[in-house]
């Protein structure tokens, strides 16, 4: 055996170790969610279920109690969908237009504006909580899903603008010039030339924004009302509002349900994500 193969197997060993380390919690969650409470109490944490049961999943979805409301995750899951889908769409569209302007329609002070928008990416959530609450109050959106959409759009624009700007900067300026001479205006050029080129970066923006917005807890818990809580807040409530025995299997099932959509987005569009993230670095 040459030293090369030894190194190679060593590399694989380390990678497998890391993968196992990361997958272990998921494994525990999955197996626990498929066990009965009885089996959880008596068996080992790492053991496979002796008897697979989907009852905890059904309970988590439709009957588990979040506080006093015992309808499972279902209504909150839909709240999250109603919040995340428009918020992702709006922030992506605005980010695309912003990025298009910053990359191809430079104006006086563009760099300063871009720096300010970029700065928005680095403002911690906690800092904006109070002013945002006041703002939502002024707008009459406090405690509503549109209010949450608004917050997430505002917070996401910094990132989406950065993505699209860096992507569009690699598109030669002569394309815009050619289109101008051809008679196309600002929106026509965007629609006919830039948008058809944008699939990789739209994917990046959608995955990024969807993950951020779906997984967000702080904005969700701060700015939602009783009827507009997102799934992350409900999950917290379900886990924290046990009476008597802690139903670990239901908690685990609920956690997996809450995490499924982001997983799904990754599986469907993940390969574009890496491609889109690196697209700006090499000229095509």
């Amino acid at each position: 055996m040459t030293s090369n193969t030894v190194l190679r197997w060593g590399l694989y060993g380390i990678l497998i170790l890391f993968a196992a380390f990361y997958l272990m919690p998921l494994f525990v969650m999955l197996t626990t969610s498929l066990k009965s409470l009885e089996e959880i109490r008596t068996g080992s944490l790492l053991a496979l279920p002796r008897e697979i049961t989907f009852a905890p999943w059904a309970e988590a979805w439709s009957t588990a109690c979040a506080g006093t409301q015992c309808e499972g995750l279902r209504p909150f899951f839909w709240n999250s969908v109603l919040m995340a889908v428009p918020a992702v769409a709006i922030s992506t569209v605005i980010g695309a237009l912003n990025g298009y302007v910053f990359a191809q329609w430079r104006f006086k002070g563009a760099n300063l504006f871009f720096a300010m928008i970029l700065f928005g990416c680095f403002i911690p959530f906690q800092v904006v909580l109070l002013p945002m609450a006041q703002m939502l109050g002024f707008m009459g959106l406090a405690g509503t899903i549109p209010g949450l959409i608004f917050v997430h759009v505002i917070y996401g624009i910094g990132f989406t603008t950065l993505f699209f700007r860096n992507y569009y900067v690699t598109i030669p300026q002569e394309l815009v010039r050619a289109a101008k001479v051809d008679g196309a205006g600002f929106f026509r050029i965007f629609w006919s030339i830039f948008l058809p080129l944008s699939l990789p970066i739209i994917t990046v923006s959608v995955i990024w924004q969807f993950t951020q917005i779906w997984n967000d807890f702080l904005f969700g818990v701060s700015f939602s009302g009783p009827g507009s809580q997102p799934v992350t807040v409900a999950l917290n409530n379900i886990v924290n509002s046990t009476t008597g025995v802690k139903a670990y299997n239901v908690d685990m099932a609920a956690a997996i349900i809450a995490a499924l959509p982001t997983l799904l987005v990754y599986v469907v569009a993940g390969k574009y994500f890496i491609r889109g993230l690196t697209a700006g670095s090499v000229k095509g």
Binding site: P172, E174, L175, R177, A178, A179, K180, V181, D182, G183, A184, R188, S192, I193, P196, L197
Partner: protein
């Protein structure tokens, strides 16, 4: 009526002046080439004509209409870009018809014009391909097709051949020339390649540092360069610029050129000229001939003491270039291929004084 008239055009970015007082006027059917070294402002000038760069001062008229503040789409121009700038997600056909589509031209007219241009440029088999599937030369054709369908008052070309390999460049050059003759189009064309400028242009503008050095026909530019910059820039190999001394002598002009290790070379221009003592003699390599015994070449004033020491001989197939040293500068002569010239040997040369230029060494301006 001139098709393009530029008056007192100025262009500055803040305090940096890019173009100084540009005045150009061309007639319909003219092929105007803007030529100069990189950074001379020729591309900026083209972008100003296109309306892609705002100008700081002056006026631009296209086909008699003042378009100074008009947006590019309303200037009645079409442009071919250096990188071709084809829309990458559109087929060749859509690339060509995009402009018409934006302007709301009806479908039937679009189809007809597309077919016409595709035939003219022989790109019919490519119409359904994407730009990424085309070779450089094919992209070039499509880019020209996109301009041709527009049938504009003025075509603008921004170094359209600089991305092609040498062989393709020559053939595309011929095609552009042919296209110009067939269409009788008015064209403004930017290049840094002086051969391209000479072969294509009906009029040439030589630029340097944002200032027009000379405007003229290719023959005027080549034979009577306005200053030493133009003389040196146009022509390959470049014009020989030889420091010399001039003296009027009985209705003639006596020119002395220093020679290493020998008495100065004296040649006599049979014309009386009003020249300062210190001059620079400009002579094209092809205007230095092999002196053939006593016989004067027709229309040629032969150098009296004409033997010069040849340093290098460069056979180039059709011609042989012989390099000597005069007035402290290397001097190239273009001789016949079968010339018996040999390196490190004296060789008799004759200057065709009917075609020489005299320049002032102080400001480089032409004196005759």
């Amino acid at each position: 009526m001139p098709i393009l008239e530029i008056e007192h055009l100025q262009k500055a970015y803040g305090d940096t002046h890019i173009l100084h007082d540009i005045n150009i006027s061309i007639e319909p059917g003219d092929f105007l080439v803007l030529v100069g070294p990189s950074g001379c402002g020729k591309s900026t000038l083209l972008n100003c004509i296109a309306g892609l760069e705002p100008i700081t001062g002056g006026t631009i008229r296209i086909a008699g209409r003042d378009v100074t503040g008009v947006s590019p789409k309303d200037r009645d121009i079409a442009m071919v870009f250096q990188s071709y700038a084809l829309y990458p997600t559109m087929s060749v056909a859509r690339n060509i018809t995009f402009g018409m589509q934006v302007r709301g031209v009806d479908k039937a007219t679009q189809e007809r014009k597309l077919a016409e241009v595709a035939r003219q440029l022989q790109i019919e088999p490519l119409l359904n391909r994407k730009p990424g599937q085309l070779s450089g030369g094919q992209r070039q054709r499509v880019a020209m097709g996109r301009a041709l369908v527009r049938d504009p008052a003025l075509f603008l070309f921004d170094e359209p051949l600089s991305n092609l390999d040498a062989k393709l460049r020559v053939s595309m050059r011929t095609e552009i020339k042919k296209l110009h003759q067939d269409l009788n189009a008015s064209i403004v064309y930017v290049t840094h390649d002086q051969i391209e400028a000479m072969t294509l242009a009906t009029r040439i503008v030589v630029m340097k540092g944002g200032v027009i050095q000379q405007i003229g026909t290719p023959a005027e530019i080549y034979n009577k360069p306005a200053n030493m910059f133009v003389a040196d820039f146009m022509g390959s190999p470049a014009m020989n610029l030889i420091p010399a001394r001039a003296r009027a002598e009985g209705g003639q002009t006596r020119i002395e050129i220093d020679r290493p290790g020998d008495a100065p070379l004296v040649i006599v221009d049979p014309v009386a000229r009003d020249l300062p003592t210190e001059i620079v003699l400009g002579v094209r390599p092809e205007d230095i001939h092999e002196a053939t015994g006593n016989a004067h070449l027709p229309g040629t004033a032969q150098a009296a003491s004409s033997d010069v020491l040849i340093e290098i001989v460069e056979p180039a197939g059709a011609d042989t270039f012989a390099v000597t040293h005069l007035g402290g500068k290397p001097v190239t002569a273009r001789l016949r291929a079968e010339s018996a010239v040999q390196a490190r040997q004296p060789f008799p040369l004759a200057f065709d004084l009917s075609k020489v230029s005299y320049f002032s060494p102080k400001d480089g301006q032409r004196l005759n």
